[in-house]
């Protein structure tokens, strides 16, 4: 959670250490967080509402509800990552390992889909 208003949070903290800011002034900085929090509340409601719409039937395609539900969840996760975790202004040192894990996870999901589209029908064990 590095400070969105500074690139050196620790140094700024030390600078603040000698002064006492007025009560409530932190709320001015916190406005975006309230807005993101409100957006997350709203999108949670949207996720619940969308789950009761039969998109599979509407688009005549299997798994549409899951795809749409996951798309909304991914958007919410992006909001948390970008704003609450301040990833949108983080350094490459943090991004690089995260990108690795992202691609490994993607690989895991891909393996599941491959197994689904090309399932093992039988074994070569002599007893089977």
């Amino acid at each position: 959670m590095s400070d969105p208003h500074s690139s050196a949070p620790a140094a700024e903290s030390q600078a603040h250490a000698s002064t006492d800011h007025g009560h409530g002034s932190y709320l001015l900085h916190a406005r975006p967080y309230f807005m993101v929090g409100a957006a997350l509340f709203i999108f949670t409601g949207i996720t619940v509402a969308l789950s009761y719409v039969d998109f599979d039937h509407l688009f005549n395609s299997h798994g549409m509800n899951i795809k749409i539900g996951m798309a909304v969840a991914t958007f919410k996760v992006c909001l948390v990552g970008a704003w609450f975790m301040h990833l949108k202004q983080e350094k490459g040192t943090i991004w690089r390992p995260l990108l690795f894990t992202f691609f490994f996870c993607l690989g895991l999901f891909l393996l599941c889909l491959l197994a689904y589209t090309d399932p093992i029908q039988t074994t070569s064990h002599p007893l089977h």
Binding site: Y26, G37, G81, F84
Partner: protein, 318 residues
Amino acid sequence: MEIPYTVRPRPDTGLANPKLGIWLFIASEVMLFGGLFAGYIFMRLGAEPWMWPHGWLNVPVGTFNTFVLIASSVTIILSWEALKMRNYKAYKVWLALTWICGLLFLAVKLSYEWPAKFNHFGAYIKKEAAEKYEPFLGNEGPDGRLFRGLAPRLFISGHLTHQHSGESKAEFKAREHKAWADLKDPSVKTIQIDALDEENGNNPKSPEHDRAHFIPRDTVHMHEPVILQKSDLIYGYGPFYPKLNTYLACYFMITGLHGLHVLGGCIVFIYFWLNIKGGSLLYHTNHPQLCNRIEVAGLFWHLVDLVWIFVFPIFYLL
């Protein structure tokens, strides 16, 4: 020995050590939960359509818990902002709200959601015996599930016992205890169910039961108890424990692990909140270090929130 770079950034990484450490930890956690979600998807895609349950979890309660966790994500960041701005009182209040939200989340899960599952009975009927239980399954006939192009329902669930009018709580508990004991007793060949879930007990052929409902519906108290032959059931029947089916195994595994993370986060926040050496007293002795501690714990807490954002739709809604 003094640990270097707990506050100031290291020249080579450009980050303070705790921050780099927590991000590497978060990366490993993403892999852990990513693996579990991948396993869940693998099993769900491979399951026969009628084996994968929908609408077993209480959506309003799950939604409430989601709101609680999102609110705690906001409060922890406000706590950190207040701390950086040297507003000690606000820091303490927001931090307290954060761990209260965390404990509230756990309380709902452990005192309501999980116990409700442990009191519920469920059984899968063998395909060859389905006809015997057709009045509770609603598959056959012109308005049955098969006619509507749906997978057959082969699952019966409800409560083994319910309290009769005029029956004392102690008598009911004794009867309930015996019913669960009979379930495990191999010499008892039948199972008696007093109350069925809506889709089994109240016109199972109704299209109303084709989709999950937002507000969970009551069980239907049967005039005559429903008798199941144990030999007609697939192994694993009993309370809604992980062994009943893959869905419940995944549900308890993933929400349990997530709950442990919530508990861990709460313990850390309470530690920082207390007026002890490594906690809030640092405000007076080493303010920047306390800021970093809250920042790092906050990042972990956002991960906990992030995981729940996926858990909620996957298990409760889809």
